[in-house]
């Protein structure tokens, strides 16, 4: 497990930690007070953008719309990052922007401006399945199916909290800031969401369709 701190932008990207996860409580360097600005955000784009894209894609359920949402998120972030108070944790802030953009797009879609809906199942979104071993492919399929089922069963806010916690590794306090909740409510919401996830996991392991 390695977490590579980068100058100015201390992110913990999935590519850094592989399959393992660095608990937020162990990421002491991330809670330091680095100075974030436009150039640091640009330097960290390659790490942060795939995570933001996956986040908005999960919220919107539409890959094409997710690309638009990712672009809009970073455009807004670049315009406002220089005005952030020193010490503002940039990753939760960018996810907060992404969530607002997703909500706006969902409302616009609800008004009928955008009616295109992505019906492609998650397991067809796998990029390079041929290069993986059969065992790994099976595990991938398990992960894709279980998570997709769980996300389908969750209300929007609880889904966002689960994704921020388990997929993007935010601390409960950071999730509370993004969602505008109390810390206690955040923990309860994530706990309920994880119950649903475990239910789907047990169903998958039990061979239920």
């Amino acid at each position: 497990m390695t977490t590579l701190p980068r100058p100015h932008l201390l992110l913990t990207a999935p590519s850094d930690r592989g399959l393992a996860f660095t608990p937020p409580s162990e990421r002491g360097s991330e809670s330091a007070t680095p100075i974030y600005n436009r150039s640091a955000l640009i330097a960290g784009y390659s790490e942060l953008a795939p995570r933001v894209h996956r986040f908005v894609s999960d919220l919107l359920g539409d890959r094409t719309l997710a690309s638009d949402a990712t672009q809009e998120t970073f455009v807004r972030a670049l315009r406002k990052v220089d005005g952030l108070p020193p010490g503002t944790p940039i990753v939760p802030w960018v996810f907060g922007v992404a969530r607002r953009v997703s909500q706006e797009l969902q409302r616009a879609r609800g008004r009928g401006r955008r009616v295109m809906v992505d019906t492609e199942p998650d397991d067809e979104r796998v990029v390079d399945g041929s290069a993986r071993s059969p065992e790994a492919a099976l595990l991938d399929r398990e992960a894709l199916t279980v998570v997709a089922r769980a996300l389908d069963r969750l209300p929007e806010d609880r889904k966002a909290a689960l994704l921020l916690r388990l997929d993007h590794g935010l601390a409960y306090a950071e999730i509370a800031d993004v969602m505008g909740w109390s810390l206690a409510k955040t923990k309860v919401e994530v706990f309920r969401a994880r119950e649903v996830l475990r239910g789907c996991f047990e169903q998958w392991r039990g061979g239920e369709p």
């Binding site: 894209h53 890959r63 990712t70 672009q71 455009v75 796998v126 998570v147």
Partner: protein, 159 residues
């Protein structure tokens, strides 16, 4: 770190592995290139992106200003109460002298004092009421005809 937090982190590790595998499987397809982001960020922010609140505020303030102007105009067009009342009584008396007969048949022409023309209606009634003595009217500072013209035909006087 409290024991509960340690247990919670261990408990979450399986769930996180699930999401990490999924993230690896999904890859980075669909992520817009940085160049597109920078070009879009360099463009001036469109006015519509500021949200509908600006437009709503302008409408609200415009409406409030219009309402205030209408109210001001309405207040200015209203005549003030006291002078108008006196003027209307005087005008009614002047216009109706010799032609408008009050109740009881008395004529407004029986008034010698021009000040009576500006009397309040109650005082005018006093001066022209049948059966009201001259003393009673005088005590009120009014002038009454003797005998009152209005009372010439009053059945109560003939009794």
């Amino acid at each position: 770190m409290r024991p509960f937090d340690v247990a919670d982190e261990m408990d979450e590790s399986r769930d996180r592995e699930l999401f990490a595998r999924r993230a690896q499987a999904l890859g980075e397809a669909g992520v817009p290139p940085l160049g597109d982001i920078l070009r879009a960020a360099a463009r001036p922010e469109p006015r519509a992106a500021r949200g509908p609140s600006d437009h709503a505020w302008v409408q609200l303030l415009g409406g409030a200003g219009l309402a205030a102007a209408v109210m001001l105009g309405a207040v200015r067009s209203l005549p003030s109460a006291a002078p108008a009342h006196a003027a209307s009584v005087a005008a009614a008396v002047d216009a109706g002298a010799g032609s408008t007969e009050p109740a009881g048949g008395a004529s407004w022409s029986t008034f010698d004092d021009p000040a009576a023309c500006t009397m309040e209606p109650a005082e005018t009634e006093c001066a022209n009421s049948c059966g009201l003595s001259s003393e009673a009217c005088a005590s009120e500072g009014l002038q009454a005809a003797d005998p009152p013209l209005a009372c010439e035909n009053d059945p109560r006087l003939s009794e």
